[in-house]
Amino acid sequence: MFRKSGRLKLSASDRTLKITAYIFTALFALLLMYPFFYTVSNSAKDNVKIYDVPPKVMPEAARSLSIVLDYSGLGTVGEEQLLDKMKRDNILAMFSTLSEYPRDSLFEIKTYGVRDGKTVFYSRAHKMKLELQRDFGVYQGSAVKKEVLLYGDRYVKANEAIGYEFDPAGLNRNPDLPKSGSKYDSRLLSMFADTYKTEGAYVGSDVTTKNALLLESYRYYFQLPSYVYANNHIIARYSFMAFWFNTLLVIGWAILTQAVLCSLTAFVISRLIGRKAGNAVLLYFLGAMMIPFASIMLPQLVMYKEMGFYNNYAALLLPFLYPFGFFVYLFKGFFDRIPGDYFEAARMDGASNLYLYAKICMPLSKPILSLIVLQTFIGNWNDFFWAWMVTEKQNLWTLNVALYNLSSNGSTKQNFIMGLSVIMIIPVILLTAFSSKQLKQSFAASGVKG
């Protein structure tokens, strides 16, 4: 309505108002988006660059390093022995470059083992995969040194985790080394001859820029929980998905209980009991909704613990098993507006109360149901404290609890945490984009209260 009138007549006062409105809104929108860009940009940095002072706005380009080692000079060795040597060299090559070139944005390291002109061994690892192995995996809590890297059967396990290809008859992978050599040649040559002495002889290396590697990082960010909480077999297997599952389970359960309990309660209040009794009952439910969580969390925790509802799904789900007063109020207002003739006609035919509820009220209340779904989702999506208080087992954590715990864990790197944040934000953006219309309608409808 303002739109039309605005077009018809634009006075000076109106014009300044419109200009101010556009400037204010645009500036605020920029301010709102800044934290997103900040998070995305930070999550694309590596664990060294993210701690740079002063911090850079954009992450650096990602590079891929190929290292070629030659085993022709070994003489005759058995297949097993050759593989073993290559595995050792592979681990040495990967972890040493990672620790010797922390600032070079080497996001991918490939090692080629050649023998008599054929590529027999090939392995490839993303930087973040190696970081995970170094911080939480095979090499947890140890310094990068030759003795440490090759200690016991660690290098075998590390190779299993990273993955490799080996075929004494030759693999179909050929390193493409630049004729002029690479800037890493002299340093790598001395490294592999001395500090990290490899069995194979260093042939050469190649560095290329590959920005897609920045995206691949998110795959390993996603795997972070399964490394940090490797002792929990559910997290070890499903990683971040377990937290998604818990969050969706809690929200789904909340939506289900609220939809059923609130509509049933509202149906009885609206249609089956007198106006006075109905208002009293409604007030009872609205009052329960107003009880602040902070003032009942202690007795709630004590009571739930007494019943054994602690550190299990019951503790997460039970708090939703009562009708939320505001939704009862919304449903009641909606049912009050359904014409009485519907009910009378059905009653004449001998319909029971439950029939009236299930066949008349519910099919008509789709708009209010979608409102409740959205508002329950928003309300519980941010829920943290109760879930945090009653869960010790990691496989019960919701997304909020998990991210909080991961971020307060001293050994996780900030870029991993930022990456997980991005993974959590993206569904929100998609959801908002797809349901913004329903959201607006839902808030317009609930604004009736005000």
């Binding site: 419109k18 911090p55 202690l298 109360n353 005000g450």
Partner: protein, 300 residues
């Protein structure tokens, strides 16, 4: 509906069943609410009268000693003080901005839909993600906040680790996250009867005047409700300061909620924690009562 009831009454013995049936249906929700909500208040009050021992419940009866001792500790009053500073900051920083945003959004002719959607997104970001992002922004060494300060020639600050800044830093992200309130205000503004607006326009009430004399008076009640809700929400503030600083540094962000949590989770003083819960409930109930009274006076 009444006609239906009368019809039922004529049927004699059938009427009792008809009268009882609704209450049988209502019984589960009423009992569940009593059990999961109202009973807990009684339990909190009961626990506050004991030197509560969770293993050999309830422990020795101490009457109102828990309250008396709690009122005599400085830490308790510090927590109230912090809570009210948080309240003050919330009102001046995050309460007014959604109103401004909605007023200006309403003036937009193009792009309104896009901007509204943009406003909603930050409001839906999970609190832990917000915490991660903003803790990094406020980071004294690696964060962007100090970069901006330095750019304008200021001195770098410790932000969250500085007791005089920590409350500001915890509330500030809320400035960007008011999108859902914006939706409420916007729908209220667009719900103003077009007759009022058009007739006022003929009288020359356009632009800023329209906001001042037509829109604001018409959404005054929603603003008031939102104000009361904001007060009630801030009084029980718990998650956000806990996530950012766990109540620190040196108790500078310990709200009443965190005080209660620390009392039973760190000091294992269940009795005092319950006493603090009851006092908090009482204070919030008083505020809700004022709200309901205002609500009623408007309807009359």
């Amino acid at each position: 509906m009444n006609r239906l009831l009368h019809a039922g009454m004529n049927a004699g013995g059938y009427s009792l069943r008809r009268k009882l049936a609704p209450w049988l249906l209502l019984a589960p929700p009423i009992l569940l609410t009593a059990w999961l909500k109202y009973y807990l208040i009684l339990k909190a009050f009961y626990m506050s009268l004991f030197d509560y021992d969770p293993i050999h419940a309830p422990g020795p009866f101490v009457g109102f000693d828990n309250y008396a001792r709690m009122f005599s500790t400085q830490y308790y009053w510090d927590a109230w003080n912090n809570t009210f500073v948080f309240l003050f900051l919330t009102l001046i920083m995050t309460f007014l901005i959604p109103i401004l945003q909605a007023l200006f959004l309403n003036e937009l002719i193009r792009w309104r839909h896009v901007f509204t959607t943009l406003y909603i997104v930050p409001a839906l970001i999970p609190s832990a993600v917000n915490m991660v992002i903003w803790k990094w922004i406020w980071h004294p060494d690696y964060g962007v906040a100090n970069r901006i300060l330095l750019f304008f020639g200021g001195q770098p600050q410790a932000w969250l680790s500085d007791p005089s800044f920590t409350k500001f830093c915890i509330i500030f992200p809320g400035v960007l996250g008011g999108g859902l309130s914006v939706l409420l205000y916007l729908s209220a503004i667009q719900g103003i009867s077009s007759d009022i607006v058009e007739s006022s326009q003929l009288d020359g009430c356009v632009g800023w005047k329209r906001i001042r004399y037509i829109i604001l008076p018409n959404i005054r009640f929603l603003i008031f409700i939102q104000l009361v809700m904001a007060v009630i929400m801030t009084m029980q503030l718990l998650d956000t300061p806990y996530m950012y600083t766990s109540g620190g540094p040196g108790g500078a962000s310990t709200t009443m909620g965190i005080y209660i949590y620390n009392t039973f989770q760190q000091d294992f003083n269940y009795g005092r924690g319950s006493a603090a819960s009851i006092v908090l409930l009482f204070v919030i109930a008083m505020m809700s009562a004022i709200q309901m009274k205002m609500d009623r006076s408007r309807r009359d």
